[in-house]
């Protein structure tokens, strides 16, 4: 039997809740009632579901609203924080600027004040000394003592001003090291002689132990002298009827890296009043004497040791004290025999600016120095010292690169480090001297190890010991560059034999040479390092000599480079006339004497020595 069903799915919110079915065989009324009932039930169920859903949705909406509110609060809060932060940063910036400005003002004020204070003080001390001499001459003994008091007070005031100024300068970072080499014995004699009167005044004996062969040290002479002076003057001041002993000796200190470093020790021993341990501790602080009663009794500012310590630290040394109350004190100054300049971050040299291409756009007549050194710091120093003097400095970080660069740029001079990995300085030197194009370039060796003899044998012109002394470096460079081979001259010639002969001839005559076998190569060389003069062959594959001339003459920087044409081409009268306007001279191959060419080269170069 076929039964007919009407099936109505009850679906709400994508869920099937049930079916309403209608079956044909039931009586129509019953069926209708049943249907209505079912429908009513379905409707109720639907409404309930709907209500549940609405509730759920409302809850979700509320949740979202809450989250949103919280986020809004957070955003507001963050914005507030940000603006506060920006405000604070601004305040901090302003404060820093004000502080820096104040510090500058303070330093300037101190410098000016020091000058202003010294001028009248100068008069007080000077005239009191004149008066004292007058009083002595005229026998007015009653006045002498009072005049002496004026003079001594003036001198005391002067030492106070000096110390305050020194310390202020140290604090504002205005103190630079000026490194020079000096004789340790001379320094010691100088300081001891100056202090002898002070020592005698307190009836002290001054004993000096300094080996005669102690030699030189390299440091800041003025600061070493002042530091030693401070220690010895303290020792003399705080000792009566005793002994002040200065011992100088050399010590080798081995660093963790295994590198041995020589130190010079200055020991200042006295048999004076000594200090208690608690006083020793704050001895090096500014404005603290061991005992405030000391100031009254012995005078001074209490700044001397603070200044000394600062100076000694700047030079890479240290100062220490040992003391026994009532027995005496020993101060030890340890200084590296060779002090090195410490460079501040701001001065750090930027190596990226030192590539060949960026450097070689300098004018023609700037002398170029090629620095070959694997040590970053040494390169930096050399670069700074030399470029400050107006030299064009090109750098290579190893022997191989150095050799390559030397060939490319033909520098006026080379400084060459000895100790380098792989190809060392000696090997590089030999390679340079074996290259006919580079043999005339003066090479100065630089190294910690002294081997002048080997350097000379291998063809170096001079020797710089590391750390390189600025004065000496400049002297050496100046001397050898002035005497160095001239040029470079660029020879452009496609026939290798002719190229070699021409180059040889010029090298023997003392010229530096750049060589190119074709125009493209030539233009690359000119781009990197414009020569002083070009010797040009006309007949070449690809781009010929005429075209090279055209290119050069239309180039703003190269148009004044003199050109001498050497050609085997029979030029027509009009060609000759045209070419004569563009080049300095034309030589026909096989029709000129070598000496004529050399004379012409000399003449052209010397007459074109005007800045381009």
């Amino acid at each position: 039997m076929l039964e007919l069903f009407i099936v109505i799915p009850i679906v709400a919110a994508a869920a099937l809740y049930g079916f309403v079915t209608y079956k044909k065989e039931q009586s129509l009324r019953l069926k209708r009632e049943q249907l209505i009932k079912n429908l009513q039930e379905a409707e109720r169920s639907l409404m309930q579901t709907n209500k549940r859903l609405e509730k759920t949705i409302q809850e979700r909406v509320d949740d979202v609203q809450r989250v949103n509110d919280r986020l809004c609060d957070e955003v507001r809060e963050r914005k507030l924080m940000e603006s506060l932060l920006a405000h604070n940063v601004k305040i901090a910036d302003e404060a820093r600027e004000r502080a820096e400005e104040a510090n500058r003002t303070k330093s300037e004020f101190l410098a000016n004040m020091s000058h202003e204070l010294r001028t009248p003080l100068n008069a007080i001390i000077g005239y009191s000394e004149i008066l004292e001499e007058d009083a002595i001459d005229q026998g007015q003994d009653s006045l002498i003592n009072d005049i002496k008091k004026i003079r001594n007070a003036g001198k005391h005031l002067l030492s106070l001003i000096n110390d305050v100024l020194d310390l202020a300068k140290i604090e504002s970072g205005k103190v630079d090291l000026y490194l020079e080499s000096f004789d340790i014995n001379k320094l010691v004699k100088d300081v001891v002689d100056t202090l002898q009167p002070t020592c005698e005044k307190n009836n002290n004996k001054m004993v000096v132990n300094c080996p005669e062969n102690i030699g030189l040290m390299r440091s800041d002479f003025t600061k070493v002298r002042q530091s030693l002076f401070n220690l010895l003057s303290n020792a003399s001041k705080f000792t009566h009827n005793g002994e002040v002993k200065l011992t100088v000796k050399q010590e080798v200190f081995k660093a963790k890296t295994g590198e041995a470093q020589k130190f010079v020790h200055f020991l200042v021993q006295d048999t004076g009043i000594g200090m208690k341990p608690e006083h020793c501790k704050k001895l090096f602080q500014a404005f603290s004497q061991a005992d405030s009663s000391t100031t009254r009794k012995y005078g001074g500012t209490g700044l001397g040791l603070a200044i000394t310590q600062n100076f000694i630290n700047m030079m890479g040394g240290e100062v220490a004290v040992e003391s026994e109350y009532g027995v005496g004190s020993t101060f030890t100054l340890k200084l590296p025999q060779i002090a090195r300049q410490i460079i501040s971050k701001a001065e750090e040299f930027d190596e990226s600016t030192a590539t060949v291409s960026s450097i070689l756009v300098n004018p023609l007549h700037t002398k170029t120095v090629l620095v070959i050194d694997d040590n970053h710091h040494d390169r930096k120093f050399l670069h700074r010292y030399l470029s400050n003097e107006g030299y064009n400095v090109v750098m290579a970080v190893n022997g191989k690169q150095g050799l390559q660069m030397a060939k490319e740029i033909v520098p006026d001079m080379i400084t060459l480090d000895v100790m380098m990995p792989e190809m060392d300085g000696w090997e590089t030197l030999v390679a340079l001297k074996n290259d006919p194009f580079l043999v005339n370039i003066p090479v100065v060796m630089s190294s910690i190890i002294e081997d002048r003899h080997l350097a000379q044998t291998l063809g170096a012109v001079d020797y710089l010991s590391k750390p390189v002394d600025k004065e000496r470096l400049l002297k050496v460079v100046d001397k050898h560059i002035a005497r160095s081979a001239r040029g470079p001259i660029l020879v452009i010639e496609d026939d290798p034999d002719t190229l070699e002969i021409t180059c040889d001839l010029l090298v023997q005559a003392g010229w530096l040479i750049q060589a190119a076998e074709n125009s493209t190569e030539a233009l690359e060389i000119i781009e990197k390092s414009p020569p002083m003069l070009i010797l040009l062959d006309l007949m070449m594959p690809e781009m010929d000599g005429f075209e090279v001339i055209k290119k050069l003459r239309y180039h703003p920087q190269w148009q004044l480079i003199p050109i001498i044409v050497i050609t085997s081409v029979e030029l027509s009268t009009s060609e000759y006339a045209q070419l004569s306007k563009q080049v300095q001279n034309i030589f026909q191959k096989g029709k000129y004497e070598l000496q004529d060419l050399l004379n012409e080269v000399n003449e052209v170069v010397s007459s074109s020595l005007v800045p381009i």
Binding site: A111, N122, A123, G126, I130, D166, D176, T222
Partner: protein, 123 residues
């Protein structure tokens, strides 16, 4: 008599120094700025010059450089005098070509010993 040229712009300092040196037996001539100092050096050919460094117009460094650049005057020893006593002043003076350096206020005995060292280098 040993002739000393003092170049100094401060009248009081000039007066003091010249009186004291005269008292010690030197012949003293004076100039009050760098240009005058140069002129005096060329006319008078002193045995030694005491040069204040901060002078009006041409300062002591420049005057010294001129003196040392000229074959007529480059043998005259120059002692730089400066009131600053700044670290680096000594170097600056030496670079300009000064033979020695002293700070003001002048300590007369120290100055005279420096002068004598330059006047009689072998004495």
């Amino acid at each position: 008599m040993t002739k000393i040229l003092i170049v100094e712009d401060n009248e009081m300092n000039l007066d003091m120094l010249s009186r004291r040196l005269a008292r010690k037996g030197y012949q003293v001539i004076t100039a009050m700025d760098g240009a005058e100092g140069l002129q005096m050096a060329n006319y008078e050919m002193p045995d030694l010059i005491l040069m204040d460094m901060s002078l009006p117009g041409m300062d002591g460094w420049e005057a010294t450089r001129h003196l040392k650049a000229s074959p007529d005057t480059n043998t005259i020893p120059v002692i730089a005098l400066t009131a600053h006593a700044m670290v680096g002043d000594r170097e600056k003076a030496m670079e300009a070509g000064c033979n020695d350096y002293d700070t003001k206020p002048v300590e007369i005995d120290r100055l005279i010993s420096k002068m004598e060292n330059l006047l009689n280098p072998y004495g």
